[in-house]
């Protein structure tokens, strides 16, 4: 086993969080190639009780999912997410970067602050770049820790992404006078959007 492979193995083992290739290289002696060591290491851990997984630009060691039954002790009780939160998360993952207005357009209801806060708090979403549209609204994107939590290498590996794209379901197709978005759980700062939707309705 190569010395660099040992080093990468040790560093990934020691960390609960994914470690980026850049970080690995920075910690290894000058001239090391973590990326190459990772390829070998990944192969070495195939079929083992512990796997090497890629999470975005980083790598982590994780136990094999089929052995989850052994880990009741380690299982962390997670707060059950509301349906609104789960749907919002999915919309952000598949449509990212996506604005709040776009999420509301897709769900047909306004997004409550609490839902977004919950996802932000879980560190499954974060703010992305502002959109270059009037008002420069903030966007949301999913995080590395979202990928880590759901065992995804990249956001491109989301289930059914290709099919959705092929079906045109990920395109933004605004249509004036279309189905109104209303605020079932709306809060104050969302009123603008909902009003807009409704006023368009009554203009005709």
């Amino acid at each position: 086993m190569g010395e660099q492979e040992r080093m990468v193995e040790a560093m990934l083992f020691a960390s609960a969080e994914p470690v980026s290739v850049a970080d690995l290289n920075a910690r290894m002696p000058h001239g090391s190639d973590a990326a190459e060591a990772l390829v070998h290491l990944r192969k070495r851990y195939e079929g083992r009780g512990v796997h090497l997984v890629r999470v975005g630009d980083a790598w982590a060691m994780r136990t094999a999912p089929d052995l989850g039954f052994l880990m009741q002790k380690e299982t962390v009780e997670t707060r059950k997410l509301s349906r609104a939160a789960v749907e919002t998360l999915a919309i952000i993952a598949y449509h990212q970067p996506v604005t709040r207005a776009e999420i509301e357009e897709i769900r047909g209801v306004s997004v409550s602050r609490g839902t977004v806060d919950q996802l932000l708090e879980l560190e499954w979403i974060r703010f992305g770049r502002r959109k270059m549209t009037p008002g420069r609204p903030v966007t949301f994107v999913v995080t590395e820790s979202f990928l880590d939590h759901f065992g995804l290498e990249t956001a491109r590996d989301l289930p059914g992404l290709k099919e959705l794209r092929a079906a045109g379901l990920l395109e933004s197709r605004p249509l004036s006078g279309a189905v109104p978005v209303a605020g079932a759980e709306g809060d104050a700062d969302l009123e603008e959007e909902t009003e807009e939707g409704q006023s368009e309705l009554f203009e005709d």
Binding site: F13, A14, S15, A16, E17, R27, H51, A60, M61, R62, T63, A64, P65, L67, G68, M71, E74, T75, V76, T78, L81, R83, A84, V86, E87, L89, A90, I91, A93, Y94, E105, I106, R107, G108, V109, D148, H149, F150, G151, L152, L158, P159, G160, L164, A167, L169, R173, L175, S176, G177, A178, V179, P180, A182, G183, A184, T194, Q198, L201, D204
Partner: protein
């Protein structure tokens, strides 16, 4: 509680054709509408209701009859009103919009009318329903994945990376040369006891006075004998004054000079001592 479950039961027998004939709603229809009403709090808004209703058509969402869907929704709203159930404003807004859509779909298109046609709006609604359904499916697929902390696990005893502070010192060649220059400059002056440049020595002052004394026949302020180049700088002037005075005292001692001062702090005057013998 998901509203879908509440709806699916009674609606399974419904044939979507029954909506298109425009006749009185069937028993199943009414049951379905009531089930929806009972569950109205469980819905995530009008689009959710529409999506639930659209399932009763048992067709691909792409081939949904939006007209039928509009009728279903309006029937649902009517039923709720008949039962005096208060519906949130957005449900009524949707009802109004669907009534408008329905009329657009049924009436021949008005050439004066601007904006999207009824077909456009219907297609968009179908698209929205399909997209919402797709997102729900995706959400379910994501949540069904193996999850960190439930199905697979991270390192239980992470070893933290300790931070080690390392201090490096730097100096530039310029620092080095300046330092050396500083030392060497200091070195050049090191043998001298004090700052020569600003101190007139007694020897210098005596030499100077001896040369000039022959011309001091009248009482003259000794300050007139200070070297001109020593007058500008106060430090030099002070040194020159003190040393010149000391030199006159020396010359007085030698018997070659007389000094006088009219009062305290008055100018000190000097005169060549006339030789009593000559």
């Amino acid at each position: 509680m998901t509203p879908c479950n509440a709806v699916r039961g009674p609606m399974t027998e419904t044939d979507h054709d029954s909506f298109d004939d425009g006749g009185a709603p069937s028993v199943e229809d009414r049951l379905a509408a009531e089930a929806l009403i009972v569950d109205v709090d469980g819905f995530e808004g009008p689009l959710d209701v529409l999506l639930t209703l659209s399932r009763t058509q048992k067709v691909d969402l792409r081939r949904i009859s939006v007209l039928a869907l509009a009728r279903q929704y309006l029937a649902f709203i009517d039923r709720a009103r008949a039962l005096r159930i208060e519906l949130a404003a957005d449900y009524l807004v949707m009802a109004a919009w669907l009534a408008f859509l329905k009329s657009r779909l049924l009436l021949p298109p008005d050439p004066e009318e601007e904006g999207p046609s009824g077909e456009d709006l219907a297609a968009h609604l179908a698209f929205q329903l399909e997209r919402l359904q797709a997102m729900r499916d995706c959400a379910a697929r994501i949540m069904a994945r193996d999850r960190l902390g439930r199905d697979f696990f991270a390192r239980g005893i992470p070893e933290d990376v300790t931070r080690v502070k390392k201090v490096t010192y730097t100096a530039t060649l310029l620092d080095l040369m300046q330092a050396y220059a500083r030392i060497r400059t200091k070195d050049e002056f090191r043998p001298y006891a004090f700052d020569r440049t600003n101190v007139l020595s007694l020897e210098q002052a005596l030499d100077r006075l001896r040369g000039m004394i022959g011309f001091a026949g009248e009482w003259t302020d000794i300050s007139a004998y200070l070297p001109r180049e020593w007058l500008g700088d106060p430090v030099r002037r002070r040194s020159a004054t003190a040393v010149t005075f000391a030199a006159t005292l020396e010359l007085v001692k030698e018997g070659r000079l007389e000094l006088r001062q009219s009062e305290t702090f008055a100018p000190i005057e000097m005169r060549r001592k006339t030789d009593p013998d000559g």
